[in-house]
């Protein structure tokens, strides 16, 4: 499979509660350890990425939090301002447009504009160059909001290209959308769990990404995979009807075995459904300890190839 880190822009998404932010942080750690200059962009105002990386709280000022690992917290208001200033080039013009109570309310309400500002800022960093013309970052990771909104956000550049008349906004959205669709330059990393509902949602997400938006899915990360302990014959044997006295530790162990078999079967079925997708997969083990720690993130980073 094509290494993820060869792409300039990676969009990390998935249903709520699947460990998306943890995976984004682990990917950033991994790329930095490989010698890449990485930027991790986070859209959550109450970000917990810093806790996962073991660094002081992220701010809206982009900074190098670890060697080669840069991180920034993106808020819509600030991104909008930066975008405005970049385009309008003059402070006077900028103040007239943005330091105005009318326009502030307006910008906040135009559907999609704030989403574009956040995504657009991350995209801008992925095409940013240093003085010598080399790219400022090798990889930009975008830790997207959970599925529903993540998809809404990815739709925005497409909608802008369809609705907004030619101008700077449309030109930028077109450039970003073209780059997002190019599998050489960008990709979506979809994070999921080997369970029924997250799997269904992942299949739907994949469908929307590839058919509706035509965005390349670069990797499917299946988080929280348990090790199968019982063979099909043993599964069958354990599931046979029998009366257990669960107050006996031995019988409770058999009962635990049955519960495990049910989980393993759900997992097996989910993995089979996910295997039908034509996309490279990485399975990560369920951690039987606190997963929201820098140590756990390092552990996962080492497993992310």
């Amino acid at each position: 499979m094509r290494p993820l880190e060869d792409r300039r822009f990676l969009f990390v998404t998935g249903k709520g509660g699947v460990g998306k932010t943890t995976i984004a942080a682990a990917l950033a750690e991994r790329f930095a350890a490989q010698g890449k200059r990485v930027l991790l962009t986070v859209c959550d105002a109450k970000e917990r990425t810093s806790q996962l990386l073991g660094v002081p709280a992220l701010t809206q000022d982009l900074r190098e939090v670890k060697p080669r690992l840069y991180a920034v917290k993106i808020t819509a208001e600030r991104a909008m301002e930066e975008y405005g200033l970049m385009i309008l080039r003059s402070r006077t013009m900028y103040s007239a447009v943005f330091d105005n109570r009318f326009t502030r309310g307006f910008f906040k309400g135009v559907p999609g504009l704030y989403e574009w500002a956040m995504l657009g800022k991350a995209w801008y960093h992925s095409i940013e160059e240093q003085d010598d013309g080399a790219p400022r970052f090798d990889v930009v990771l975008f830790d997207a909001p959970a599925t529903g909104h993540g998809l809404d956000m990815l739709r925005v550049p497409k909608i802008i290209t369809e609705v907004v008349p030619p101008g700077i906004l449309r030109r930028d959205a077109e450039r970003a959308y073209t780059m997002f669709r190019d599998p050489e330059q960008s990709g979506v990393v979809v994070v999921t769990l080997p369970e029924d509902m997250p799997t269904s949602e992942t299949l739907e997400l994949y469908e929307a990404l590839t058919n509706e938006l035509r965005l390349p899915v670069a990797r499917l990360v299946i988080n929280g995979v348990i090790e199968p302990l019982f063979s099909p014959e043993e599964q069958h044997e354990l599931l046979k009807d029998r009366t257990l006295n669960r107050s006996l530790p031995g019988d409770e162990a058999l009962s635990g075995g049955i519960r495990r078999v049910i989980r393993e079967r759900v997992q097996e079925e989910s993995l089979a459904r996910l295997a039908a997708l034509p996309v490279a997969r990485t399975e990560l083990p369920l951690l039987l300890k606190e997963a929201q720690t820098p140590e756990a993130v390092q552990e996962l980073a080492a497993l992310l190839r």
Binding site: I87, V97, F102, F106, G109, P145, G167, E234, G256
Partner: protein, 387 residues
């Protein structure tokens, strides 16, 4: 001592909102709550956002639609459940709700068609962040008037950020019916019809700046669209106020759903804070998907003995693997218990009187039959078996 129960909520309130971040099992909790109320004789509408197909199937529905679909009593009887009331399910259809809103309020057929065919409307009504949340509220207000239901249980959209749900109407109305919009519309009208000299210099500058950003004509298009919508609803702003008032009514109950995952707990605490800031009650917490601890963790000998006693034919090392299965269950349960303790400590320090808390164990597989749903309903609102 009685078990914590949501019974008082489902028996006395008009609307129960299940809120929480994505991936905590809100939809299942909402469906089980609705069932518990129906068992108690209420006529319940469960308005859900994104139901799992298997859950819908188990209730005898091929698929969920935007139509209200009553669950067949025969299914409950087959499952051995007594349901004295009625259970109706409906899925939120964002586009359809918006279209209905337009159709209901348009002053003429022409006005209606102008909006429904507007290109901006097509996007706003389908694929933009915030619209789903807003329409969930609109739908709720619409069904709230419907006297064929005693109780409405709403499963809120799976936002990554539970807060979006409350902010969505305000965010949209801010753009549509605000001083800003009126100011813009005026500015466009004057800049189009008169020479720029007549427009205040600052306005001209702003328009020029925005025009540079969006290209010519876009804001005019936007303004036109918004004017049209405004006409239609006689002011979105008053509507937003109406929505806001309804959501603070004592008829509404808020059930905060979380899983024991630290992220979900953080989100639910944050949301609880937002609710109290806005003068809304946090009526109950449901902690879903708690890993249950095994009753005991067997030794290797105990496991071997049990395999023999029950005459099981298992492969080599099976006893060891059985012990590992229960050991891992214990580890997951210990983690959850620790996370739950942080939630309970935070709630204790914030609240004078304790809020109802219900704990629901994790199941080895998803809920897809009536019996399991009834089991969850029983945990949410234990039936009084005394009589």
């Amino acid at each position: 001592m009685s078990l914590p129960s949501l019974e008082p909520l489902i028996e006395t309130r008009r609307v129960v909102l299940c809120v929480g971040c994505g991936g905590v099992g809100k939809t299942t909790v909402a469906a089980a709550l609705a069932l518990a109320a129906a068992q108690r004789g209420r006529r319940v509408l469960c308005l859900t956002i994104d139901p799992a197909r298997r859950l819908a199937n188990s209730l005898g529905l091929d698929r969920m639609t935007g139509e209200a679909q009553r669950v067949d009593e025969a299914l409950f009887r087959q499952a051995g459940v007594q349901v004295r009331g009625e259970l109706t399910l409906m899925m939120l259809d964002t586009k359809r709700t918006f279209d209905e809103l337009v159709t209901r309020h348009a002053s003429s057929r022409e006005a209606r068609d102008r909006i429904l065919n507007n290109r901006l409307y097509q996007y706003v009504s389908t694929s933009l962040a915030g619209t789903q949340e807003y329409m969930a509220m609109e739908k709720l207000l619409a069904v709230q008037q419907d006297s064929s239901y005693d109780l409405i249980v709403l499963d809120t959209p799976p936002t990554s950020n539970a807060l979006d749900f409350l902010d969505a109407p305000e965010r949209i109305t801010q753009a549509i019916d605000s001083a800003a919009m009126r100011w813009f519309i005026q500015a466009f009208e004057s800049s189009g019809k008169f020479s720029l000299n007549l427009v205040a210099k600052s306005v001209a500058l702003v328009l020029k700046g925005i025009g540079r950003l969006t290209g010519g004509g876009f804001l005019e298009q936007m303004a036109e669209f918004v004017t049209e919508l405004n006409d239609l609803f006689g002011g979105f702003k008053s509507r937003a106020a109406q929505v806001a008032a309804a959501f603070r009514s004592p008829d509404f109950a808020y059930v905060l759903v979380t899983s024991p995952a630290p992220m979900a707990i953080r989100e639910v605490l944050y949301f609880a804070e937002r609710l109290s800031e806005q003068g809304m009650a946090q009526d109950a917490f449901v902690v879903n998907r708690l890993h249950r601890a095994p009753r005991s963790v067997a030794t290797l000998t105990e496991a071997e003995d049990a395999i023999q006693r029950h005459g099981l034919t298992l492969g080599e090392g099976a006893a060891e693997r059985l012990v590992r299965a229960v050991t891992e269950e214990q580890q997951l349960a210990d983690l959850d218990r620790r996370h739950l303790a942080t939630l309970q400590a935070a709630l204790k320090s914030k609240q004078g009187e304790p809020t109802t808390q219900v704990l629901i164990p994790a199941l080895p597989s998803d809920v897809h039959d009536i019996a399991t749903l009834v089991g969850i309903a029983e945990l949410l609102a234990p039936s009084a078996r005394a009589a």
